[in-house]
Symmetry: C5
Subunit: 155 residues, 5 copies
C-alpha cells in the first residue's frame, strides 16, 4: 500500500487536510496517510524530509499559506527552496500547495482557492504514484490548481 | 531528558532568551538547554548545526533580529536559507524566530512583538518534541507569533 | 544508444514535446527517449533527477512554462535553482527550456517562441551528447532560442 | 595554538587586513594567521573552504566589499550564500565582514566603517574561539559593527 | 603542468576565449587548456564541474553573458549560485567572468568591457595557481575587471 505524507501548518487560516482526503476518496484511493502539523511554511521542509526518510512515505503533500507582506513572500520562497532540497536529497516528489493570502479579495473566494488547489494537487499526487500516464495525457493543456484551467494553445 | 539548543545574537536589541525560558517554565517543562550567542543572524545557522551535531540537541530555537534596511532583509534571507540547509542536513527542526526592526513603530510595541514571538515559538518547540498532536489540533487556525491569531476561515 | 529524458508539465499551455522529437528527427537522431509529465515547474527537478539516477538518462530536457505574475517568476526561479542542484549532484546536463507567459502578446507569437525554443534546445542537447564541437563553433555568436540570433560583435 | 584564516579581495578599496591584526593584538591574542587574497567577493567562499579543510583553520574571517550597483548586491548575496554553504559543510564559523560602497558618502566615513567593522568582527572571532561567554554577556544589546551600538530595549 | 578549464557560451555575443589565451600568452604561461562551449550561462556550472571532476582541471574560467532583461539577471544569478555549488563541492576556484548586455551603450564599448574583464580574470586565474602573492600585493586596491581600477582608500 502506498504511504502518503501530508504536512500542514497552524499559520494557515484554512484547514486544507480534509480536501486532500476528499480527493483521495473521490479517486477511490485509500493509501496510508501520515499527517504532520508544523507552525509555519519554513518548518514544512524538515517535516517532509522526516516523513520520507523516517516514515518512508512515497510522496509528500505540503499545505502552506503565505501572508500578504513582502517578508511573507520571502518566507514562502525559503520554504520552497528547502522543499527543492528535500526532493533533491530523497528523490521523492513533494507536491507543494501554497496559497498566498492576497490571491483572493474575500474569505469565500480564498476558501475556494484553497479547496481547489489542495484537492487537485492531491489528485496529482495520486497520479504521480498510481497513474503517471494521466499526467502525460494532460501535458501542455494549461491545467491550474486554485483556478480554472487555462487550456491549450495549439498550432 | 530532551536537549534544546537556543541561538541568539548580540545584534538583536532585545534579549529574547528569557521569554523562551519563561515559556518552558509555564509549560512545566524543564529540558536541558544549551545557549549559544553569535554576532548576528548570518552566524546562527552554523551555531545551530553545531548544537545539533556536536551537542546532540533535539531541536534548536534561533532568536534573530533584522535591521530595517534592504541589505538587512537580504542578510536575514541568507540566514534563513542557511537554516533550511541545517534542517535538511540534520533532519531536526530549527524554529526560526525572526523579528524585523520595522515591524513596530515604537520600542514598547517592538518589545511586545519580540516577547510574544519568542514565547509562542518556544511553546511550538515544546509541542514538536513532546505533544505534536497539539499542533495538529490547531492546523489551519491562523496561529500567529508576534501578533494575535487571525483565526480560521471555515466553509 | 544515448538515452534522453524529457520532463514537461500540465501547467504549460503548449505541448512542447513534439518540437523536441521533431528536432531529433531533423538531426537524423533516434535516441531512446523517456518522457515524464509533472504538474508544474517546481516538480521538474526531482523528475529530472529520477530520469538521470534511476532511468540512467545521459541528458534531460525540461519543458516549463511560467505564468506572468511575480509569484510565477519566483516559482520558476525555485525550479531553476533546483535544476542546478540536480546537475551538481549528477554531473549531467539538464537543458532548461522555460517560456514565460508574457514574453509574447498574442497566442500565435507565444506558440512560435515555444516551438523555436524547444526545437533549438533539443538540437543543443543533441550537440552536447554527439557533437560538442558544433557548440564551440558557435561560441560567442549570440545564438538565441525562442527568438532570432543576435549575432556576434567582433573586434 | 588556534589557527585563523583571513580572506580578502583585490576588489575592495580598503585594505582591512591590518584592522584584523590590530584587534588581535589589542586582545593580546597571537594566533597563527593564514591570509588568502582573491579577486572579489564571489571567490571568497572557496578560499574560506580551503582554509578550513586544507589549512585546518578553526575560524575564517572574510573581508569583502560590494559596489553600489544592483548587480553588486547580487554578487554579495551569492557570496554570502556560498559562505553559508561553507559553514554548513565544515561546521566552522566564517565571520563575514561586508562593506557596501554606498554605506558612506565620503571616503573618510567609508574608511571608518571598514575599520570599525573589521576590527569588531575580529574581536567577535576571538570571542567565538576563546571566550564565547563574552558574546552571551552582550546578547540582545544591539551591538553593531561599522557603526555605534544601538543598545538594548528592555522591558 | 597545470590544467585550465574554460567554459563559454553560444549565447554570448563576444567570443571571449581568445582574450583568455592572449592573457596566458602575455604572462608567458602555457598550461593545458580544455574548452567547453554550452548554450547559455545556466549550462556553465555543470560543465565547470565536469572539467574539474572528470578532466581534473586545477581551475576553471567561465565566460558568460547576460541579456538586459530582469529574467536574464535571474538566469545569471542562478548560474552564479550553481558555480558557488561547484566550488563548494570540488574545493577548486571557478573564476566567473560575467558581462551584462547593458553595461555598455555601444558595441565598441561592450567589446572593450568583455576583453578587459576576460583578460584580467585570466591573469587572476594565473596568479591563483602560480603566484598567489601577486593577489595579496593588490589586496584592497580597488582592482576592477572590465573597467579601470578604482584605487585604494588609505588612512
Amino acid at each position: 500500500m502506498p504511504k502518503i505524507g501530508v504536512v500542514d501548518t497552524m499559520f494557515a487560516r484554512v484547514d486544507m487536510y480534509p480536501f486532500v482526503m476528499e480527493a483521495f476518496s473521490d479517486m477511490g484511493w485509500a493509501p496510508e496517510v501520515v499527517r504532520r502539523t508544523v507552525p509555519g511554511v519554513k518548518d514544512m521542509p524538515v517535516a517532509a524530509l522526516s516523513l520520507i526518510e523516517k516514515d518512508e512515505c512515497d510522496i509528500v503533500i505540503t499545505l502552506g499559506m503565505g501572508g500578504g507582506a513582502d517578508v511573507d513572500y520571502t518566507c514562502v520562497h525559503e520554504a520552497c527552496t528547502g522543499l527543492q532540497g528535500v526532493m533533491l536529497k530523497t528523490g521523492k516528489h513533494v507536491i507543494d500547495v501554497i496559497v498566498h493570502r492576497n490571491e483572493a479579495k474575500g474569505e469565500k473566494e480564498f476558501l475556494d482557492i484553497c479547496r481547489d488547489r489542495a484537492y487537485k494537487h492531491a489528485i496529482n499526487a495520486y497520479w504521480l504514484i498510481e497513474s503517471p500516464e494521466e499526467l502525460t495525457k494532460r501535458a501542455g493543456t494549461g491545467e491550474r490548481q486554485g483556478f480554472g484551467n487555462e487550456g491549450s494553445i495549439s498550432p
